[in-house]
Assembly symmetry: C2
Amino acid sequence: MRILSRKLLGIARARAETLRLLCRMKKAQIVARTKGSVGADTKTAIYAAAKKLIEAKGFEAMTLRQLAAEVGVQPGSVYRYVESKDELLQALMNLHMISLIENWEKLEGKGNDPVSRLKAFVAFHIRYHIERRADVVIANLELRSLGEEYRADVVTKRSQYEANLRNILSDGVKAEVFPNVDLEVTAYAIIAMLTGVCFWYRPDGRLSIDEIIEVHQKLVLQGVVG
Amino acid sequence: MRILSRKLLGIARARAETLRLLCRMKKAQIVARTKGSVGADTKTAIYAAAKKLIEAKGFEAMTLRQLAAEVGVQPGSVYRYVESKDELLQALMNLHMISLIENWEKLEGKGNDPVSRLKAFVAFHIRYHIERRADVVIANLELRSLGEEYRADVVTKRSQYEANLRNILSDGVKAEVFPNVDLEVTAYAIIAMLTGVCFWYRPDGRLSIDEIIEVHQKLVLQGVVG
DNA sequence: CTATTAATCAAACGAACGTTCGTTTAATTA
DNA sequence: TAATTAAACGAACGTTCGTTTGATTAATAG
C-alpha cells in the first residue's frame, strides 16, 4: 500500500506538472486583469449577486465560490472588495436600514393628521418592501448570522425606523382619533403584517400593489380607529 | 516563515501524539456504550438540542459536532437516530406542522358564530406560538434550508392550517358580519401579525400573554368588522 | 514611452464540515 | 451463564469552506 501510494503520488505530481505547463501555455491568452474591468462595477456586481444568493439560499448556505461564479470572477478576487463574508452581510444590512430610514424621512410630514400619516406609512412600507424584496428578506431572516459586534447597530436602526410608526400612533392617541391603542404592541402588529406581504406577494397575483395597499390601509385604520 | 510553520507542524504532531497516548490510556476507563443509556431518551435529547441550536444559530450554522456536544455524545453517534442533517430538519418541521394542525382541530367548533371563532383562533395562534417558539422560528425561517423533496409537504401543511382562518373569514362574509374582506390577503395579514408576536415577546415584558391576546383580538375584529 | 497603479488569476492553505466504519461495552434474551 | 442485540465510542474519510498569496496583465499617469 505504501508503494502504491508513492506510485500514485508520482503520477499525481507528473499530472500537476503537465497541468502547470498547459496553464503556462494558455497564460498568453487568458489571464489576470481582464479587459474593460472596472473596480466600482465589480463591487456593485458583488453586492447584487450576494443579495440574490442570500435571498435564495440564506447567508450561511451561500459560499464565496458561488458568489464569485455569479459575478464571473475567481473566489479570491472577491477579497479586493470585501473584508470578509461577515463584513459583507453587515454592509448589506446596514445599507438597507439606512436607505429605508432615509426614504421614509423624505415622505414624512407630507400629511398632518394622524390618519393620513398612518395611511401614508402603510403605503410606503408595503411598496418599499415589495420593491426591495431581497434586502428585506435578508434584513429579516439573517440577523442571527450577523456577528455580535454588528448586530446591535442594525437592531438600533430597525427600532429607529419603527419609532416612526409609534410616533404616528402616539399622535393619534393624543388627538383622540385612535382610542385605546397599545402603542408598542400595535406597532409591532402593524409592521409584522405589512412586512409579511413581501413573503407571499407575486407580481402575477390576483391583486395589484395598489389594491393590496388599500386592503391593508383599511384593515389597519379600522383596527386602530375602532 | 517556512521554518516557523515547520516548527509549528512539529509541535502540532508531537501534541497529537501525546493526545493519542492519553486516549489509549483512558480506553480502559471510559468507552463505548455508556451506563444507563437508552435509545429513546437519546433521540429525544437530539431533537431537543437540535431545536435549541437551530433556533439560536440557524440550521446551516449549526454543526453536527455542536449538536452532539449539546447532547453529550460523539458526532457519529447522532447517525444512529438521524438519517442525515437534512432529514432531521424535515422531521422537526413536519412534526411541528402536524402538531399545530391537530391542536387547532381540538379547539375548533367550540364556538359557532364567526366572531367568537375568530377570537378563538387569535388566542390559540398567539398562545401556541409563544409556547413553542423554537418550533415556530424554525418553521418560519428555515424553509429555504429544507431540501426540495421535503419542502412541498411542509408548504402544503402550512396552507392547510391557514385554510382554517380563511374558512372562518369566509363564513363571516357569508353571514354578513365581516363586510368586504378580501379572504386571501386578510388571512395572510392576520397570520403574519399573530406569528410576529413570538419574535418580540419577552416573558418579563410589560404585558401578559392574555393581555397581548386581547390587544390582537381587538385589532383583528375591528379590522374585519369595520 | 515608461513607470505605476488597479484588477484579476491560479494555486494553495489549514480548518471544519457531514458522514462512515469497525470496535467496544451495556443491557437483554435464551 | 452464554449469546445476542442496543448504544455509544474513537478515528478517520473525502470534500468543501473562507481566506491568503504571489504572479500577471490592463489601464492610467508622468
